[in-house]
Each structure stands twice: as C-alpha cells, then as structure tokens.
Subunit: 364 residues, 4 copies
C-alpha cells in the first residue's frame, strides 16, 4: 500500500490514507517520491479559495522522485527512454489538448480549458496524482524531465513551483541589459524572480516584501535594495524607489506578492512606458481601485498578466538550476521538512510566513 | 494683422484677437490656415480638465495650410525643400529633446518631458502656435509633411487627430490576420481605429458606442456589428460579443471611448491571453474598480496604454489616407464648419455629441 | 473500391490505381474528395527534387471534401462534433509530436522531426492519405476545419496551399500600416502574399514575376505595380523600385519565387533596416553568392526563413477567405480542372507555367 | 598646442601633428584625453578598406577624458550640468538628424545618412574630433556620459567599442534564459558578446575563435567551451557543437569574427528556427556562397544584421560595467598601452592579433 496525505475538503484537517499500488497503463511511469513541495497554492486549496477543487485531494504539484517502474518506453524531451533509477521531475500540467482555439490559434495553451494539474485538479479518487504520497503515478504523456547531475533533488525542490512561474514571468517581462527591476513580494516566486532578473541582465534589482527572514534571503541572492513592507509606508517606498531611479521608477516591475493592493502600488513604482508583469494574483483576493488615465493611458504602461507555465519554462528553469545552482543555492529557501503526517503543520507554517519554503519528505 | 480664436482661460468664452504677422527665424515656415480641427481634447482644455494649460491659448493641434512664407530652406522628411504654395500639415508635437532617458534609453519619446504641442501647451503669448487662426507659425524643426495630391485638405482634416492617435493604437494592438477586434467608442478615434483594424487584417470588427449618428458612420466604414451603449446594457453587450466569438471574447480590444467604465467593461469583452489597448483615457475622468486576479493575472491579459503620437504615425497615416481615402471618405466625418468667431459654438457642439467632427475654417 | 492517381516513383508516369474502402479507427473521418490541389510541390515531388519521398505516393496535400463517414465523435477546433455531409478541409500536417525540443522549448513545431504530411510524406501503402483520390482517410487527430458557407469549395481550393503558406509569411513579415512591400514571385504563394500584404496594411505592393497571365492576376488582385522578369533586367527592376521608394527600397520584401537568384536580387530591393522573408525556396535549387557586409551587416537587415504552416495559419486563412473572398475571388486563380487520369497532364501544365492553379476533380 | 596622432591617408605612416586649442561654441565641451582605444576599425581605416574616409584623420572613436572646459551649460542624459573635472566618455556618433525616414518612420537611426562619427568620418581639418590626441573637442549636442565611480577609465576603455557593439548585438539576439549561444570570434566584440550572453541568461556559451591568448581570455570570462579555429577543422567544430546541443545546434549564434566564411559556417552551427546575429562584418571582406533553401527557408532561420550603436547601448553598457566590472575585469583585455608617437605600432599589433586590446595614452 502507498501512504498519502489527503485534503478531504476545504478547511478540513489533513489525513494520511493508504492506496493500493496502481497498475501501469502503457506509457505510464511510477515514481517513488523523494520530495514534494508545499506551495502557497496548497494553502489556498486548503482554505477553499479556489473554485472546483475535486476533494479529496492529494496535494503536491512540484515533485522530484525516482523512477521505480514504467510500462512501454516512455521518453523524455530528447527522445531518450526513461530508465528505472533515474531521478526525475515532471510538468504538473497535463492533458493540454493541442486542438482548441487557445492551444492553436491563440498560441496560449496556458489557457486551454482541458488542462489538468497534478496535485490541484486531479482528485485522489482518480489515483496517486499528487506528490504528498510515497508514490506518484505519471499518466502516459506526462512530460518527465530527468534531473541533470548538477541539480540535486533538494536544490530542485527548493526552487519548486516558484521557478517555472518566475521563468514565465521573465518571458513576459522582457528585461533588457541595464534595466532596473522592482520585484513586489519575497516569497518563493518573488525571490526567484529577483534571481532571474539578475540573470536576464537587470543591473539593479529592488525587492519589496517581508518579513525579515525573507528579506535576508533576498539580500543573500543579490537584491541590490530590499524594502520591508512591515516597516515602511507606501509613500516611503515610492520615495526610495524614485530616488534609486532618478525619479522615474523601475523599467520593469514584477508583482509576485499575492496582495491586490500591491498592484495599485506597483503602477506608481514603474516608470512611464515601462512594463508591469502581474504573476502573484493567483487567487481572487479582492478588487482594487485604479485610474485608467494616470495609471495606464498617459503612462503609456504595458501590463501583462502571467498565468501558469509550460514545459519550456520548466525545462529552461532546470538549465538555470544546473548552471547557477551553486551561486544561488535554492535549497536554502527550504526552512523545514515535514513527513506525510505533518502535512497539516506544514500548511500552517507556510500560511503564517514562518518559512520561505516547506517540503514534504514521505520518509520522515 | 492675423485673426485668431483664443481661449482666455478655462470655462471662459472664446475671443477673436488680432496678432501681428511674425518675423521668421531661419528654418521657420508660415502657413495660411486652410482648416483646423476641433478635437475632444479642445473641449477638455476649455473645461479645465488638463493641468498646466498656458492660457491664453490658440487651440488647434491638427491643421492643414498653405506655405506662404519660409526662411532658409526647411525640408520635409525626404529632404526636399519646402516651397511656397505647397499644401502641408505638420506634427503638432515639437521640441522632443532627443537627449533624455525617455528619448534615448527607453525609446519612448512620447513621454519626453520636454515636448511641446501646438494648440495645447504653447501659449498665445508665445506666438501663432495653434491652428484656430488665419496663420500658423511653424518654428524651426517642426516636422512639416506635404499632403500628396490624393489627400485633399478636407479629407485630411476629416481624419484629423484621430488618425495618428489610432495609428499609434494599431502599432500597440498588433492585430493578426483573422482577428476579431472590439472598438469601444465611436468618436473620431474609435471610428478610425475601426477602419484601421480592418486595414490591419481583422476580419470581424465590432464597434461599441453611440449615439446613433456615429454608429451609422461606423456601419458605413465597415464595422461588422455595432452595439449602441444607449440602448443596450453591459450584460447584453457582453452576451452579444461572446456570441460573436464562440464564447471567448475579442482577440484585441481598443478602448477609445474616454469613459473609465468602458475599461472595466473592456476586460470582460477581451478573450483570455488577448490584448487590450487603452487609448481613450486622455483625461482623468475618475477611478474604476478592477480585479487583478480575474481581470489580468488568470486571464493572462496584456494591457497597453497608448499616449501621444510621433512622426511615424502621422506620416504613415497620410499614406493610408492616400491609399484608402476613396474607400473610407474621412471627410464625411465632418458634420459642420465654423468660422473663427463661431469657435465657441463648435466646442459646444463637439461636447454635446452633435457632431462627429467639427472643423474651423478661418475664411468663414 | 476507391480510385486514386498515384506517383509510382520520381519521374515515372502517374497511374490510376484502386484501393479498398478503409475501415475507420475511432476518431477517424472519411472524406469524399471534392477538389484537390496541384501545387508546385507536387511537381518537385514528381521530379525527385525532395529527399525521402515514400513512393508510391497519392499526392494532394490541400483538399476539400464532404464527410461521408466517421468513427466516434471527432470534433473541430471549437469542440463541435463533425457531421456527415459537412464540407470540410483539414490541415495536411499531422503527427506533430508536442513533446520534442522544437515543439516545446523552441516553440517551433514546424520543425518537429515527427511531422507527417498528407500527400507528401505518407505513402500510398499506408492508406488513402493524399487528395488525388475519390476518398481521403483522415486519421484520428487530424485537424478538420469545416468550411463556412461564405467559402465555397472552389474558392478554398483556388487559394489552396498558397494561403496558409502566405499567412505564415505574413506572420513573419510584420508589415506595418503604410509599408511598401515587394513580392518576388507571382505564383499562388506570391499572389496570395500580395493580397495579404494589402490586408495587413501595406499601401504600396509591387509584384515582381511572370509570365504575363500571372501578372494580369497580380494587377487584378490589387498590386500597385507589376514588373515582368521576362521583359526587364535586374538593373531595371532595381531602378524602378528605388524610384517607387524614394531611393530606399521596400520596407518588407517577400520572396515567393522559388528561384535562388531572386534572393540575391531581393537583398538589393529591400531598404536598410528592412525585413526580408524567404518563403519560396521550398526545394534546393542551388547556391547563390552573397556579401555578408553589404547585404546584411551594414544594411542592418533582418531575414526570416518561413517553413511550413500550422493550424493557426490555416484557420485564420479561412477567416480571410470568408471575409474577403468576394473582393479577391481566389477561384479565378484556377485555370483548369483535371480528372484523376489527367493528373500527369496537370503536373505538366503547372511545371510549364501554363496555369496559375490546377485542381483535381475526381468526378471528371 | 595640442598633439595628435594623425593618419594622413590610407596605408601612410602615422604622424604626430600639433593643433591650436579650439575656441568653444556654446554647448561645446573640451576633454583632456585620458585614454583612447585602438579598434579593429582603425586598422581597416588605415588599410583603406572603408570608402570615403576624410583623411587626414585623427582616429579614436571610443575615448575617456576629463572635462577641462565647457561653454554654456551642456548636460548629461539626466539633465545634470556637466562639470569641470568630471571623468566622462561620449557617444562617438553625432549629428543623427532625427528628421529623415530612417530616424523617424523606420525607427532605425543607425542608418541615418547624416550621421557623423568621431575618429572615423570627421576629418582632422574639422577639428580635434578623434581621440588619439591630447584633447578632444565635443561639439554641442554630443552625448556626454559621466563615468560612475565604479567604472575606472581603464576598465571602460578595456571594454571599448566592443561594449556598445555587443550590447546592440544582444538587443538583436533576444537570448532566452537557458539558451545555448555560440559566439564566432574572440576579439573585443566576441569576448564581450560572450560575457553579455551570460548576463542575458544563456546557460551555455561556446566561443569559436583564436589565437590562443584570446581563447584564454574567453575561458577567463566564463565561456563554457572554446574552439580554436587554428587547431580544429570546420567539420570538427560542427561535430563538437552538435554534440553539445543534442544534435540541434545553438539556439542563437553571434557572428563577431570579421571573416565572411564564418557566416557560412554559422548557418550550420545554429539550430532550426534559431537566430543568427551578424555583427562582425564591418567591412567588405568578400562574398560567400549560401543556399537559400537549406540555410534559411527550410531551416526557418532568422538572421539579423547589426550595424552601429546608439546612446541606449552605450548608456546601458556603462550600467553593465558598473555592476559586473569586478566579475569580468574588462581592463584585462588591455594588452598594451601606446603613446601618440607609437600609434603606428599599436595598429600593427592589433592587425596581427598580438593584442586583444590596445590603448592610446597621450601622456606616454
């Protein structure tokens, strides 16, 4: 039997349940979970902030594991057959249809209505389709990516979901060499966006966030300036950023905070004719006021929402980890590890900002 | 002496004043005004909606005239010397510095803080620097564009300020062949955006606006569907547009209405991963509510403000007039002509939507 | 039994062979062929200019037919189930893998090594997988597109393969409103590129090609200037185009001629900092000389190859046909119709430029 | 009197001449030269490879100096007045007209026909308009950029002309996070392109060049792999790069070698649907053969010439120096310093690859 931590429903305590080992369809892969991530999205799932969650749910959408079984000859992106014993991760998004208007005409498969996501939109009743379990069942066609030897599992999971999310944000941000970038938010997405902004050529990166432990991480990974939202006012932050940008504001701002009010603040922090990428508003946390004249039209501002991620973000992100892992040591984002029966506590610690990154280790 | 219609101050009645014929600096050009436009911006100027207007003001930023005098050998874009007797227009924007951060590093000269605009930011005390006058003084360096013979003055001024403005909006809109475009607003900018959307490859153009006379124009210039804001509810318009787009919304929406609430409506009318260009919010008409999650982030929406215009929009716009003038007959937007001493009435008619386009003819 | 015109091998006479009616796998569709196209590529196939052609081959990659049978509930892009009696076309490209580097990381599925193409890379031994036959077997997953009622089969096939090919070229060309575009070549791709350039905003379109019957078509569909390669020298054409562009050359040039020498000429016809799209070199017709300094580096030129097409080009192309079909009447490109047993003569007529577009009608 | 090293004509020995101190027009600035660069272009000037050089010439287009005099209140990009004693550089390109088709409609001021360049297109008869002199006269309007304190003059001149040139190449290259980049050439442009590729997100940078001293520099600045053109064949290099890219070739290739044959090789080193930036062909070194089918069309390749640079490349480049100077230590590119009367020997050393970067120090 396979043990898994299960969310029975919104706001209900997590349970450890046991499931039988699944039989493998042709093309399927069975992973022994090494680590699974506890992500802010998991808190939102548990709090019932997302509509249509198919409880009971095995959470865990970013995972690393060892191939213990496979059926047929599933291959990786290079066409190489997967092998037992390989340490791999996989793209949580599956069943993108490749046939609808969004997949084809609009070239926006991230808005394909047929997408399913491991650990989020698959129910535990459908199988071991989330990472908070001893084993994960990879359906035929899931994009499996072997980790290169430069990327130990701990480093990969330390980067976690924030990596492909921030990779996508960078694609939208189109940072130019010499830009000043403001990152709003210092959670995993914000910190990785601050790293990647440097890797994309920004020469000044300013992180606006909190609490202090996260801002220490921001400084460690190279932020030029950090501004603590708990000890500064909106006006003070604006004044400081104007001071750092000769009164213009950032060339590019990345919103990765989850707080709708940050969006309002972000308009002001960005220079005229700049770019504002909104990647942190993954759940509906309420409306804001904005002024179409001053915030957008006269400002000649470009605003880009950024939803989900695709294999290219995931695969390129692993290339970045392999190259720059020793410099940024994403594993340091991991504050604590939790066994399956401690999953509820992990959620609680993430929700209350007591950790940058929590991970599930089913062997604990 | 040269007669000019002058705004002495916000909300004060217009006056006709007389000015001496100016002496020409080297490189300057003197135009005899053929037509000047009455634009929505002129109403905003008069109502005091814009900050820092240097009253007394000679309005009129889009103009066509005949070269009656010149000093030295000012040239056009092709390097050809201007000649007395030529019928020309000119870019209202002048003194873009070419040296500041916006002009050079950001490649956004439309946000250069040094820009001056004929008929808007030059005072009557500085000279004949607006078109509601018998003569216009073109300072050295003003971009003068001879009208090709295919573009009679009446057609040019019928297109007016809406043409370069909508040309810029098209550049921001990046319409693809086969797109559905919604245009919000049926004033001069909206109507021209509806024309240009067709010329850029949209195969379905939907105009949301009013009142009826303007929507008749929208139909005349080829809009596939028009929706009257005075006779339909927001819900009805949304339902209709979803029906016309298989439930997705427009690929691209162009906001050209001037009403902040249109922006809120526009988010809903645009498909996921679509593009929304905001070009109609030229004055501050108030805040709106919006939801960063549903309107931008999850929607993967791209929003682009669009401010001002540059010589490329102006010059390319004249190419469009020369090619497609007979098809769209912009001169039909002109509802009425006014002499200099009727300028106040012209403003009133524009303000109350009694006209699509009013023009000033100093000979009347 | 189903009759089909078959190429047994390179340079061998075509034969009409009979095949049994296929049984349908789940998701498959059987079409009764209404029309199939004779494309320049078919001549190259027959002449052995392409490597790895799986003879015997049933040519015909662009087709229109009636659904006569289907298994399961295959759907179109909108998710609507296909129905018997529908008149449809389909994307000739199939089996794009969606998993390789090109499909995912590079976002260039047109270079996916797994692609197969109806009428080109499928053998007759594999089934009725080309259009020069009474019936066409659509494998599960083939993208089927119902023709809207505004697009009669004859108009669709008159546009043929040139439409998606030129649609893709337009995507690469990024034409701006007011541009001058030179199209090299006046075959189906060139003529449609000349049409689409107008629909994308070009205000001056110059077609360089021949022979005379094709240039008449070019004028009919709105080319501003046509230059006959049979009656003008390279120097004369260069001089004429410089004259039409104030000595600068075209903003954008589209190569659609198939002649490598056209590429060399095209560099000179394009202005500095312009864009040159090469879409006509679908087979290897030899090397050319070029000068990296004068042709590319100093010229600050952008050159874009353009290979294949995808569903978005195909689907958007049909939108264009539906909107602009009456204006451009693509069916007039059809010079002659041929029955299956006249397919060899059709190839011969296309090869010797006796026709703009030939079509196969299996009922003849 | 001011001493200057002068090229009297093509292939003639350099001479040291004396010029009177110039009087300053309003807006002009006088610099005391600290360092001037010896660039490959200077060798081409001297060899007569460029047309229309206005001999006698004071070479030296990239320079750093101290403000010793100024007339009026010339300002920098931020609008701050320049001050005596400031250490500054300046954009060598001047008199871009801002009015022609290229400056306005085409948005390609780098192809403005009115541009003049310090040290290249200004004659010594026109003034102290090149850097190989004790003093440099900056005409009114020259873009002067104060060096921040993090950028010592030696580091700035070590980067030299290669920095803005490579900055521009990066803009054209649009490198994505995780890309493999091949740089052809290991001179100053190639080495800086290899640095900047890393700073733009490339995770694998391969430098193809020579001789050995330059490849050592390439390794020092972080190239993952270097391939010596003197000890490897074209076939070996191709095989190696294919091996490093899973058989696909580089995502992006930057040609910075100056050898036309490199362009032919570069097509093969770049993957299908990749991008090829040609920035090294600054003089006409002859034709090459290429195949439009295999090299461009079928390959779906994008090729971009890259000519000149503008203030944004220059200014952003200095931001990069200020941020990453200690990491890459551009001053190490400087192999040797030469006084004015040693300028001829400096040219000879650069021509024969005995140095990566030579500089002129007028005090020696």
């Amino acid at each position: 039997m396979v043990r898994a931590a299960v969310m029975p429903g919104a706001n209900q305590p997590l349970q450890v349940r046991e499931y039988p080992l699944p039989a493998l369809e042709p093309g399927a892969v069975l992973l022994r979970t090494i680590y699974s991530e506890v992500c802010g999205t998991d808190v939102h799932l548990h709090r019932g902030h997302l509509a249509g969650v198919p409880f009971p749910l095995i959470p865990g959408h970013i995972n690393v594991g060892e191939v213990v079984d496979l059926a047929g000859t599933p291959t990786d992106l290079e066409g190489d057959p997967l092998r037992r014993g390989q340490v791999v991760s996989f793209l949580d998004v599956h069943e993108t249809c490749g046939r609808c208007y969004f997949c084809t005409v609009a070239q926006a498969p991230n808005r394909c209505p047929h997408r399913r996501v491991y650990g989020i939109t698959y129910s535990a009743d459908e199988g071991l389709l989330g990472g908070w379990a001893e084993m994960i069942y990879l359906k035929p066609g899931v994009h499996v990516v072997p980790l290169p030897h430069e990327v130990p599992p701990e480093r990969f999971i330390g980067a976690g979901c924030g990596l492909p999310t921030a990779m996508h944000a960078m694609e939208r941000a189109e940072i130019a060499l010499g830009d000043t970038v403001v990152v709003q938010g210092s959670g995993p997405v914000g910190l990785t966006a601050a790293i990647l902004s440097q890797l994309c050529g920004a020469t000044q990166v300013i992180v606006v966030g909190g609490p202090e432990n996260r801002l220490c991480e921001a400084e460690r990974i190279g932020a030029d300036v950090v501004l603590d939202i708990n000890t500064t006012s909106i006006e003070e932050r604006l004044a400081r950023i104007m001071d750092l940008t000769q009164g213009r504001g950032a060339d590019v701002t990345i919103e990765a905070s989850g707080n709708p009010q940050a969006v309002h603040e972000g308009f002001g922090l960005t220079r005229d004719a700049g770019r504002y990428v909104i990647v942190g508003q993954y759940t509906d946390a309420g409306d804001i006021r904005m002024n179409p004249h001053t915030d957008i039209n006269r400002k000649h501002l470009e605003i880009r929402g950024c939803w989900g991620s695709d294999l290219r973000h995931f695969w390129r992100g692993i290339r970045v980890l392999a190259k720059h892992g020793d410099r940024f040591r994403w594993e340091r984002f991991i504050s604590q590890r939790y066994g399956l029966d401690q999953a509820g506590r992990a959620l609680d610690d993430v929700e209350h900002y007591r950790t940058v990154k929590a991970l599930i280790d089913p062997t604990l």
